[in-house]
Amino acid sequence: MIELKAHNLSKNFNERIVFKNINFELSRGTSLAITGHNGSGKTTLVKIISGLISPSSGSVEFTADLVKKAYNEIYKYIGLVGPYIQLYNSLSAWENLIFFSRMRGITPDKEKIRTFMDKLGLRGRELDDVRSYSSGMMQRLKYVTALLHEPEVFIVDEPTSNLDAAGSQIVYDILEKQKKDKILIVATNEAEESRFGEQIINLTSE
């Protein structure tokens, strides 16, 4: 049983209030869309939920099997795709994926990596340095790194950024599947993509 709860989350940078008193509760099979215009604080909220930055006040509570998890141990449960999550350019895609798998405590499964690479349309490019990837391929590879450990909470910031139509469709299929089986959080500018959230937080109106 996985639960993610936010209590009165607020964030301000110096005097500027980005958002205040955000509350939500998510469990397996539920989803949340975070919408709002550029600069409304979507990425800040996503980073707080992922444990990358601290809120000014309020808290995010992550419970797995009724046990509250500290923020320095939730990384195994979270998969995050976002523009600020960069891969190691001097390493190949394969080396990146092996590193990410090991860090998340799973034994690298070559067959599984190949399956994910095929699914994201990256077959045959496993051994290339990530620096040789286009921005769209990079975005696809970020999905592989975020999904490989089958996270309980899948968070995507700007899901189809840099992707072509085919890539966007692959991502939409992934989001549909995650929405059914796991906790899904999508932060987006696109009205069409907010359909992935059963609950919607519109930061513009906060």
Binding site: S54, N72, Q86, L91, R102, M103
Partner: protein
Amino acid sequence: MASKLLTLLQNSVFIFIKDVRLEFRTRYAVNAMILFAITTLTAISFSLGPVRLDPNLVSSLLWILLFFSSMSSLSHIFVREEEQQTSDTLRLISGPIPIFLGKWLFNVVLILCLEIIIVPLFFILLNASVQGMSIFIVVLILGSIGLATVSTVIAAIISQASVKGALFAVLAFPISLPILISSINGTRLSIEGNNFSESMDYIQALFSFLVVIFTVSLLVFEFIWKK
């Protein structure tokens, strides 16, 4: 508990291996460190000529050389993560302690590798020799680990600042001073050929400071690393 500790150590090793692999591909830190050390060593050697130096001066020059060579490259371990914008990625896949341990191990290995090249060259070019090899090796290893520890934690602090290079040496110098003083004195005794027991004060001081700085670094790193 034991399995948590094992996972923590395993993750530290994975981060170390990743950093070694990245360093082999870019050779940024190794090149900076070796070129700085060789250039400085050549300048010292040419300026002093064939004069046989006092042991106090030899040990001081050795540790000044090692300190500034370390300062030229050891900050790279965290600065690289910030410059390539991979620090958030690292925050996402690991707790802070394995990150510190992995990066610390990388810096220890890097500085020890530098010494394998630079220390013999230093003694050849300065026409000096070590009489008490056991004291010298113990002091060199403890001093190097101390410098690597200070460099790692200061690198984590300055990696988020805009003036990284200058700030690194300025912050690292006062914290490294106890290491430098004990190492210089221990090295002097080894050059003079004193007994191991006579240098125990400096070795104990070095070891004690190393334990303190390592423990403090480990405790404060979580606060430095979390945004």
